[in-house]
Amino acid sequence: MSRPHFLISALAVTARFLGNILFFPIWWYSLGFIRFAGKIVYFWRSEQQALGFSVWLKNIFVPMYGQNDFAGRLISFFVRLIQVIVRGLALIFWLLVGLILMAVWLALPLGILIATAFQLLEV
């Protein structure tokens, strides 16, 4: 590579790197956060599917094991109600975990910034 070519190339590479660094904080609070939140939502949805919450809720008045008599229906309703409550609680737990993780994502750079400043500055 000839000398002027090399200089131009070096300049271009450096500019791109600087651009990368400048864009990084903006990315963290925009695109990055959206993608992270998307992953949390996906995780929560697959948890919902694995727990079968919507299936239990939809069938709350449907008798279990084909027991169509009155007693069967009554017992089924209460068993299903308990299932819906327990599974619902589990889902709420995962929802809270997700929300906390999203909050951590948002707070992390600020936290590190404060901690670093604390280390560097004489307080």
Binding site: V55, I112, T116
Partner: protein, 887 residues
């Protein structure tokens, strides 16, 4: 993926050459220059270095924190909560960790961006018309890194050679630098050096000075088609593999070069498809494992509304559970059949019957449905359901028919009450005919009744022959809707086989070339007539792989299964010498006449005609739909007609036992057709059964003129189409057989004319015109490849035959440790005594038996002949014994 997209190109003023496809205008815009390529390369190197540096920085941070934790463990042990507020401790190591966390976040950012950047194609742009989406699509933006490298490389090749355009040839040369494409050619067994050498000659043309080469129009078209292909396959990006086969179709010179290296369009397409199939299988497997986790493995549905089915569970296997745990083989290339099954089910039909010959993959289709049910990629009414296969043998075993009926009813009842069960009954014909007796229903009628009441849903399979024989007219046959599972075509079968190669390669630790796969499909469809694709090709390939693995047991580095191994496997399975024509065999074919004359004396014309026919067949010049060769041998008795047939069997098939001999005098009545081809009651035909078992054989029809005319009509079809339908309705192929018919018609005429010195061509014509046509229809006479007239034997011939026969006696004596010496004059005397112009060489055989063999036998019994003695036939044809040396 069935067919590559076909684009119609047009020129757009703004975007240049492009094509409309799926509501978008695809075009190609990419500016390349040497400096841009160099900059890009530098950029990637810098990025790589940066990534490594950031990673090291992050690692140093973690190590710093760990060191600090070790150093301050006393304080931390006193107050463990302090660990949460480690950052409040002012320490250089903590500072290093905190600074490194910035690098961690930066690394996360770079990884995330890189992963998004690798997904170049946004498939949402191509779904459902053009609403709100940009109408123009630049395919250049869809290329992945490997493709971009190939494009840069093609540009640099053209620029270096000062070419005005980057041609298809430059691009193809660059493609060969891609590891993906190199793998394709390794699978094809192409010699890379030979290919490069041939390509180099076509890379440069007239040079252009100081110009930056532009992409040629043909190349742009290839790239656009490749882009459409990548989109149609729902890939993340455009890869070199997408472009490969379009290059072949676009550039005729390139096609010729590849053709010289034994690569044609089908081969290239099939290998590319193989790589795509492997990728799809892998991604499907990942998605499958994810969704299989959600499918219940037991008998219950997800909502717990189903009812336990103890009786059904006892008499069945749960296919969805088997699919969930990955125990069923993957189904490839049968989506059309599966979709039509779903359509029938959705239309409210209660039963679907898959009809197809055994080996076409009926059970694989059922497995495919079970897998789709696990993934829940099925119509709504099939979601959250189980596919359960009733084991008919278990259902009927150990009990009377009435008990089997009760069991079946209990199973149907449970399935209907549970509500989440789809039944499957393999080989449903087994249910027909099992009845409790009297006027009761048989099992198939019980099932038919439940199906017609729509209380259950049932899938089932049956072989084509059994369907028409057993089921078609029954109540069950009428209530079920049939779906034909056809035997796949060659390319489809090759692709089905390709999907199984990875498993075979892993199991036997062997590399399978494309040629082996192709040969397995071609050879099995050619030689294994009573089985069907793809199963017969799969079992053939499996046999070939085992042969190859055994052959290379001592050399694990070089374990490759090639088409020669497939040929060896087919040879082992059928006894057919199907190995590629090697040097030795070519030599054997060229010297066929000499080999035949080792056993045959005289009859040069007949031998030459037969040998020429066989050479045509072996070099695969023959019509594939007719027998290898068919001859009508005419001539008096004892002139060598049968002997020539035996010799051909020995020389061509390697053994006299490959000859099926039919004495046509035994087929003089109409009824004898049954004896020959069998009948519907199940008795097997002598001819059809022999050829079905050994398709590669010589069929000798001795004295054909004596057969009943109706039998001769059978041979009309056999000689023309190379097949015959037997009594059971099976088609028996005669395409690998040699048919030889012999006849004594006009024997006297031949003798007289030969004596008078008439040309054999004239004799033959006279025989055809005036003698043969009295017993055979002209169309049958015309269907023989050759009508060969055997001349009566001369005294000289008889002498040679006597010598040959004595050689045979000598060989038999050698086994007893005895020798035979014959004086030439003595042999002449014997030949003269044994010669009878009417009966040819036959009296000679009797004479030798009387005068030589009987006498030797007497001497052996009398103890006059012992080991190492020599039997001498002197000039007067007398037999004496020359004593051997004593030990």
């Amino acid at each position: 993926m069935d067919k590559a997209p076909v684009l119609e190109f047009e020129n757009n003023e703004e975007r240049g050459r492009g094509a409309w496809w799926q509501g978008r205008f695809l075009y190609w815009q990419k500016t390349l220059s040497r400096s841009a390529i160099a900059l890009n390369k530098l950029q990637r190197r810098v990025d790589h270095v940066l990534d490594i540096l950031v990673f090291i920085g992050a690692l140093v941070g973690v190590l710093s924190l760990l060191t600090w934790l070790l150093l301050s463990q006393e304080i931390l042990l006193a107050n463990p909560l302090k660990i949460l507020f480690f950052w409040e401790n002012k320490h250089p190591l903590v500072l290093v960790f905190l600074l490194s966390t910035w690098l961690d976040l930066f690394l996360l950012y770079r990884r995330s961006e890189a992963s998004v950047a690798s997904r170049k194609i946004n498939h949402r742009h191509f779904r459902g018309g053009a609403k709100g989406k940009p109408i123009h699509y630049n395919v250049a933006g869809a290329c992945n890194q490997e493709m971009n490298d190939v494009l840069s490389s093609a540009f640099l090749i053209a620029a270096k050679l000062k070419q005005p355009e980057v041609s298809v040839m430059h691009f193809f040369r660059a493609l060969l630098t891609s590891p993906q494409i190199q793998n394709v050619f390794v699978r094809l067994g192409v010699n890379a050096t030979a290919l490069l050498k041939k390509l180099e000659r076509h890379l440069s043309g007239p040079q252009a000075q100081n110009r930056r080469p532009e992409f040629s129009e043909a190349l742009r078209e290839i790239l656009l088609a490749a882009g459409a292909d990548a989109i149609a396959r729902r890939q993340d990006s455009l890869e070199p593999l997408n472009a490969l086969s379009f290059c072949y179709h676009q550039d005729t010179v390139l096609a010729e070069i590849l053709y010289d290296l034994e690569v044609d369009a089908d081969k290239l397409d099939n290998v590319c498809e193989w790589f795509h199939i492997n990728r799809q299988l892998l991604s499907r497997y990942h998605a499958y494992r994810q969704s299989a986790g959600l499918k219940p493995g037991g008998g219950m549905d997800r909502a717990y509304t189903a009812i336990a089915t103890p009786t059904l569970d006892h008499f069945s296997h749960d296919l969805t559970a088997a699919a969930k745990y990955g125990r069923l083989e993957l189904c490839v290339g049968r989506s059309a059949e599966i979709n039509s099954i779903f359509e029938i089910m959705e239309s409210g039909q209660a039963g679907v019957l898959l009809v197809g010959a055994s080996g076409t993959g009926k059970n694989v289709v059922i497995n495919g449905i079970a897998q789709l049910m696990v993934e829940e990629r099925v119509p709504k009414f099939l979601q959250d359901k189980r596919l359960v296969e009733i084991d008919v043998s278990r259902l009927v075993s150990g009990g009377a028919a009435s008990e089997a009926e009760a069991r079946l009813l209990a199973c149907i009842n449970e399935a209907s009450r549970a509500g989440n069960i789809i039944l499957h009954i393999a080989n449903i014909e087994n249910l027909v005919g099992i009845s409790a007796g009297g006027e009761g229903l048989d099992l198939s009628e019980v099932l038919a009744e439940s199906l017609s009441r729509r209380i259950i849903f049932c899938l089932s399979t049956i072989g084509t022959d059994n369907y028409s024989r057993v089921l078609e007219k029954t109540a069950l046959g009428e209530v079920m809707t049939t779906v034909g599972i056809k035997e796949p075509g060659t390319n489809q079968a090759i692709q089905m086989l390709e999907s199984k190669v990875a498993g075979l390669e892993n199991k036997y630790r062997i590399f399978i070339t494309y040629s082996a796969i192709e040969e397995a499909v071609l050879m099995s469809s050619r030689y294994l007539h009573d089985k069907f694709l793809p199963e017969k090709a799969v079992s053939l390939l499996q046999a070939a792989v085992i042969i190859a693995a055994k052959a290379n047991r001592r050399n694990p580095q070089n374990r490759t299964c090639t088409k020669e191994h497939v040929a060896a496997a087919i040879s082992e399975m059928t006894g057919i010498p199907a190995q590629k024509i090697t040097e030795d065999e070519s030599h054997k074919l060229l010297s066929l006449e000499n080999d035949i004359h080792q056993r045959m004396v005289g009859q040069e014309e007949a031998v030459n005609a037969v040998a020429a026919s066989l050479r045509r067949a072996r070099a695969e010049m023959k019509d594939a739909k007719r027998p290898i060769a068919s001859f009508l041998f005419l001539g008096p008795t004892g002139v060598g007609k049968t002997e020539l047939a035996k010799t051909v069997s020995q020389v061509y098939f390697g053994d006299e036992n490959y000859m099926v001999r039919l004495d046509m005098s035994e087929y003089q009545s109409v009824d004898s057709i049954r004896k020959m081809i069998g009948d519907i009651d199940g008795s097997l035909g002598y001819l059809t059964e022999a050829v079905r078992k050994k398709p590669f054989s010589l069929i000798l029809l001795d004295e054909i003129e004596k057969a009943h005319p109706d039998i001769l009509n059978l041979f009309l079809q056999l000689l023309d189409d190379g097949r015959l339908t037997d009594g059971q309705g099976r088609t028996i192929s005669f395409t690998e057989s040699i048919i030889i018919a012999t006849s004594n018609i006009g024997a006297l005429y031949i003798q007289e004319q030969i004596k008078a010195g008439t040309d054999t061509a004239l004799i033959r014509q006279e025989l055809i015109d005036n003698q043969l046509n009295k017993v055979m229809r002209p169309e049958l006479i015309n269907r023989f490849d050759g009508i060969i007239v055997f001349k009566p034997l001369s005294t000289d011939n008889i002498f040679q035959i006597a010598t040959l026969m004595l050689k045979g006696i000598k060989k038999r004596l050698a086994e007893k440790g005895l020798d035979l010496k014959a004086d030439r004059e003595g042999v002449k005397l014997l030949a003269k005594a044994g010669y009878d112009p009417k009966f040819g060489a036959r009296p000679l055989r009797r004479l030798l038996q009387e005068k030589v063999e009987d006498k030797i036998a007497n001497k052996i019994l009398a103890g006059e002949l012992k080991r190492r003695d020599t039997v001498v036939i002197d000039a007067k044809a007398n037999i004496s014994v020359l004593k051997g040396r004593e030990l």
